[in-house]
Every structure is written in structure tokens, then in C-alpha cells.
């Protein structure tokens, strides 16, 4: 199974979900708000099933060590909504940049420099100059 097939499964699942959720939408005279999501849901289910059935080409699914790096950065971004109100946007940006640099295989020195550069940009330009709340 390749990534193309897996995304096909995901598409078919989302299409089915769109269909199911559209059943609960308010009714109008004739087709209403549910029409468009159902059309899209059908397209996703049909397209997804075709791609699931299709012979896998390109990248095969292999879970390697690199996935841990991806998972770590994704978790950091999922925690960001809790981090930003507490630490401020400038520091959160610096943390994301520093961690991203470290995960990409650079050393602490470069990661700190990148974090500092992004902190300066976030604080100096966005917070001080453009008025984004810190």
C-alpha cells in the first residue's frame, strides 16, 4: 500500500463523514445547505475508492525514525494554542523556530541563533511595529 492509497481511504472517509453530517442540516424548500456537501462527499468517496483500488505508485508507506521528528513538531504546533497565551507570540515563534532547526539536524548553536532571529522579527516587527498582541 502506498501513500496515494492511504489518502484515498482518508478521502473516502471524509466524504462519508460529509454525507452523514449533512443529514443533520436544516431543510429548505428543495435541496438546501446539504446539497453541496453531498455532491462533494460523493466525489470524495468515488475518487477515494478508485485511488484505494488503484495500483500503488510512488512512495510506499514505511514508518521510520524520521516520523518521530514529524510527530514531535506536530505536537509542538498542537500545543501552541496553549503556549501562545502563556508565553506570548514572540517566544512561541522562537521556540517553534529553534525546535524546527534542531529537528532538521542542526546543532544547538544554530538553533539558538535561528530562535533569536525569529524572536527579533516577531517582537520587533509584529508586536512592536504592527501591533499584534504579545
Amino acid at each position: 500500500m502506498g501513500w496515494g492509497n492511504l489518502v484515498g481511504v482518508l478521502a473516502a472517509g471524509l466524504g462519508t463523514l460529509a454525507w452523514v453530517l449533512s443529514l443533520g442540516l436544516p431543510k429548505a424548500e428543495g435541496p438546501g445547505p446539504e446539497l453541496f456537501p453531498r455532491v462533494l462527499g460523493t466525489a470524495l468517496v468515488l475518487g477515494g475508492l478508485y485511488l484505494l483500488w488503484e495500483k500503488a505508485e510512488g512512495l510506499r508507506i514505511r514508518l521510520e525514525g524520521a516520523w518521530l521528528r514529524v510527530l514531535f513538531l506536530t505536537l509542538l504546533f498542537l500545543l501552541a494554542p496553549a503556549l501562545v497565551p502563556r508565553a506570548g507570540i514572540a517566544l512561541a515563534t522562537a521556540i517553534a523556530a529553534g525546535v524546527g532547526t534542531l529537528l532538521a539536524g542542526e546543532g544547538w548553536y544554530r538553533a539558538l541563533l535561528t530562535a533569536l532571529g525569529l524572536w527579533l522579527l516577531a517582537y520587533g516587527v509584529f508586536v512592536r511595529l504592527l501591533g499584534v498582541p504579545a
Partner: protein, 495 residues
């Protein structure tokens, strides 16, 4: 603020340099450059932000050639169409000449495209004033059809488009104004923010993808630019003047392809350079055809964007999203209410073609040498930080960061499966338009489906849709048959 004010000129120059750096480095696309720049643009006066955006788009497409000349690594898909020829030309004659030819052909191609943009968009806007929701429905459907069929893999194009459209259904529905797919969350009532989605799909997903791929050998090792300015400017100009017929044909073809929704500059470059290869052209003429057509297409994509509100490619889809965020409605209304903005767009295109592209082309070739020495990890860390900062700065809403993370993962999965991300963005822009025109038409006529075929122009557009669909499917099937025959022949020869 006038077009020649220092702020606008500086924005164009800096936008051009920024676009050149992103266009050159493989993996960093013009779309990514624009996605990361949009949060800045929102804080700038519209005319300054727009000047930087147009300059960025124009130069990023040209700058893809810099990597191709220096290291046979095209920075953008539009440059991949003639990467072999331009690289060989750089080795045989000089990188300076190859880059000069690319910069001048791009600049002059863009100039032709700009001329047609002015005439085409004014004409289209005048015609579009007569359009009702029926005609618009067929027009948007044409954009959807061409967008799906222009994808390298039709089923993947369809899924990507449908995913983008589905993302755009979150929020109030245009028929009754009821919340849809919000799961009771007030943050989703206004829908998924287009710019946050863009940063997630292109910015964060790029970082995740690169982390997965590990260190590649895709850095550009720039050869020093030697030779005089005459080698960069004069010799290519002489060649273009000698080949003016080819140059004009390629530019017109590029503008026309750019005008078709969903096709864009990549498609234009491949078609124009392939025509020249079939005509047994030299390396110089293949590069000239490709470079002039892809930059003419950049201007061409703006014709339907300005006059009809239909994006010609991913970049114009982003700009239309920005317009809507700023409360500016593209289409005939734009010409009536914001004519100054339209005139500025024409002017910036003109200046970018005449001044910025050749100048940034010359300077960018040196600057890229510095940018390409930046360690890959630092670049990825920078993009990760900018993605977080940009997504938050738009609404100052921490909830947007959840959307950013989820769409970053979705973008990664789509990239791993080789799905076209650009089609997701086009779907996000065209989906709401399609639904709105469909529902308005239907409610107006109490669900009389035949009303879509009653007006002459609507009927004509329906026919165009049908012809387009049949023609493109036939072309794709023919391509597939030829490819199979070619593969069978190759296997027989190997055996």
C-alpha cells in the same frame, strides 16, 4: 500613494528579491513565498502590499531558472520545462548569458502579457457586467473542470479539489445562513481562515515533509557570474530581436494558457518549449520560448482573476483570497469600485517587467549565492517559526493554530501521496463561488434546472464546458495510450 512613491518602489524591489530567493531554492516555491508573506501584506497599505505581491510572483517564476543554470536544479516546475537546455547553455556560452536570456525573455514576455492583461481584463469585465448567476455558475464550473483535468493525475486532482471545496463549506452556508460543520465551535462560524489554511498546507507541510525526507543534496552551488553587463543584457536582446516571431508566439500562447483557469505558468512553459523542440529548435530558442511563455502566463492568470473573480492559478487564488479577506470583491465590481487598485496592478506589472525583473535578475543571481549557503535546518526552522507567527497574526486567535497543525499534517499526507496541493487551494476559492451561484440560481427559479440553459450566453458557456470536458478527457486518454505504447516499445528494446 502613487506608483512611483518610494514605499511602492521599495516594496516592489524587496518583494522581487524575496521572490528570487524562494524561486531559486528547490523545494521553496512561489506559493510558499506568497503564503508566508501574506500575513505581512495584511498589515501594509493595499497598494504597497499588492506591489510587493505582484513583484514577488513575477520574479519567483523567473528565478526558478537561476537554480537550473547553476546546478541543473530548476527552482520551480515552470523552469523544469527547459532546465536541461538552459543549464547546457550556461555551460557552453556562460551562466551570465543564460541568465540574461532568461531574465530578458521573462521581462519582455511579461510585458506582452501585461498588455494583454489590460485589454483582456477590461474587455472581460465589460462583458461580465451582463452576466447573471447562471453565467457565473458555468464560468466557475469551467474553472473547476479545467483545474481537475489539468492535474497530472485526474483522480488525485478531483480528490484534492473536492477536499479544498469541502474545507470551504465549514461556516455559515450561503443558502440559509445556518452554521454548517462547525461542531458547535464558535471559532468555526466564520469558516476556516483561507490564509491560515494556506500556511498550513504549504508552509508547515513543507517543513514536515523535509524533516521526513532528511538532508537532501538539493542545494544550489552557484557558479560565479562572470562577464559584463552586455553579456547579460545586450546579447540576449539581440537574440530576442532576431527571434521576435517566436518570442511573440510564445508570449501570446503563454498569456492564453495563463488565462485558462487552473493551467498556469508551468503548463505554458512545457507547451511552448515542447513546440520549439518539435520544430527542432536550438537550445537558445527552446529557452526563449519557455521563459517568455511562463512569464506571460503569470500576467495571463490575472485576466480572469480581476475581471471574473476566477483564479488562473494557485498564486492568483491566494491573491483573490486576500482580496476577499480585505473586503474587496474581484470581478466587474472591482473595476467599478476600486479602479485605482486595478490601474495600480497594471502599473506594477509594467514596472516589474521593465525594471524589476531584469534588475532583480542581475542582482538576484548574486544574492542567491548567499542564500543558498544558508544551512537547510536553519531555513526549515525559519519557515516553522514564520508559519506559527503568520497564522496567529492574522486574527490573533490561538484556535487558528489548531487549524494550522491539522492542515499541515493533511498537506504532508497529500504530498506523500503525490496529490496536487495547488488544487486544494483552488478548490477553497472556487467552491464557495460555485455553491453561491448554484444556490442563488436555484432559489431564484424555484429549482427549475432548465433555467441554466435558457439564456443565450449561459447556453454557450454550458456548451464550452461540455466541449472542454470532452476535449481534455480525449487529450488525456490519447496521452495515456501513447505513453503505454512508448513503455511497451522501451520494454521490447530492453528485452
Amino acid at each position: 500613494m502613487s506608483l512611483f512613491s518610494p514605499e511602492v518602489l521599495l516594496a516592489m524591489f524587496l518583494g522581487g528579491l524575496y521572490g528570487a530567493v524562494f524561486g531559486t531554492l528547490p523545494g521553496l516555491t512561489a506559493t510558499l513565498a506568497l503564503s508566508l508573506f501574506i500575513p505581512f501584506a495584511l498589515f501594509l497599505p493595499p497598494e504597497v502590499g499588492l506591489a510587493a505581491i505582484i513583484s514577488l510572483c513575477a520574479t519567483a517564476i523567473f528565478a526558478g531558472d537561476i537554480g537550473a543554470v547553476m546546478a541543473r536544479i530548476p527552482g520551480t516546475p515552470a523552469s523544469a520545462a527547459y532546465a536541461e537546455e538552459i543549464h547546457d547553455l550556461g555551460k557552453e556560452r556562460s551562466p551570465t548569458f543564460a541568465l540574461g536570456l532568461s531574465a530578458l525573455a521573462s521581462a519582455l514576455g511579461s510585458l506582452v502579457g501585461t498588455g494583454l492583461l489590460v485589454v483582456g481584463s477590461l474587455g472581460m469585465a465589460a462583458i461580465a457586467r451582463q452576466f447573471s448567476s447562471f453565467e457565473y455558475f458555468w464560468l466557475v464550473l469551467l474553472g473547476v473542470t479545467s483545474g481537475v483535468l489539468a492535474a497530472p493525475h485526474i483522480a488525485k486532482g478531483l480528490v484534492a479539489f473536492a477536499l479544498g471545496m469541502l474545507l470551504a463549506t465549514v461556516g455559515y452556508d450561503p443558502a440559509l445562513g445556518n452554521p454548517r460543520f462547525t461542531f458547535g465551535n464558535v471559532n468555526l462560524l466564520g469558516g476556516i481562515n483561507f490564509i491560515v489554511a494556506l500556511i498550513g498546507l504549504f508552509g508547515l507541510s513543507e517543513v514536515l515533509y523535509q524533516l521526513l525526507k532528511g538532508p537532501g543534496s538539493s542545494s544550489v552551488q552557484p557558479a560565479p557570474l562572470r562577464g559584463s553587463a552586455s553579456l547579460f543584457f545586450l546579447e540576449p536582446l539581440r537574440l530576442i530581436l532576431r527571434q521576435r516571431g517566436l518570442f511573440l508566439r510564445s508570449s501570446l500562447l503563454g498569456t492564453f494558457i495563463g488565462f485558462l483557469p487552473g493551467a498556469g505558468s508551468d503548463f505554458a512553459a512545457w507547451i511552448a518549449s515542447n513546440f520549439q523542440r518539435l520544430a527542432k529548435g536550438t537550445k537558445e530558442t527552446v529557452v526563449l520560448a519557455g521563459a517568455s511563455s511562463n512569464n506571460a502566463a503569470v500576467a495571463g492568470t490575472w485576466i480572469p482573476a480581476l475581471s471574473l473573480g476566477l483564479p488562473g492559478d494557485t498564486l492568483t487564488a491566494i491573491v483573490l483570497g486576500l482580496f476577499l479577506t480585505l473586503g474587496i470583491r474581484p470581478g466587474p465590481e472591482l473595476f467599478a469600485r476600486h479602479l485605482d487598485l486595478v490601474v495600480e496592478i497594471y502599473g506594477v506589472f509594467l514596472l516589474a517587467s521593465v525594471l524589476i525583473m531584469p534588475l532583480v535578475g542581475y542582482l538576484g543571481s548574486f544574492l542567491v549565492g548567499l542564500a543558498s549557503r544558508l544551512p537547510r535546518g536553519v531555513l526549515l526552522g525559519g519557515i516553522a517559526g514564520l508559519s506559527l507567527l503568520g497564522a496567529y497574526a492574522i486574527n490573533n486567535n490561538p484556535f487558528d493554530l489548531y487549524v494550522l497543525a491539522l492542515l499541515g499534517v493533511l498537506g504532508l499526507l497529500l504530498r506523500l501521496g503525490d496529490y496536487p496541493l495547488g488544487q486544494v487551494v483552488l478548490g477553497m476559492v472556487l467552491g464557495p463561488l460555485l455553491e453561491q451561484h448554484l444556490m442563488v440560481s436555484m432559489i431564484k427559479t424555484h429549482w427549475n434546472v432548465w433555467s441554466f440553459f435558457e439564456r443565450p450566453v449561459a447556453m454557450l458557456l454550458a456548451l464550452v464546458n461540455l466541449l472542454f470536458l470532452v476535449g481534455l478527457v480525449w487529450l488525456r486518454l490519447r496521452q495515456a495510450r501513447r505513453l503505454k505504447a512508448f513503455e511497451a516499445l522501451a520494454q521490447r528494446e530492453e528485452g
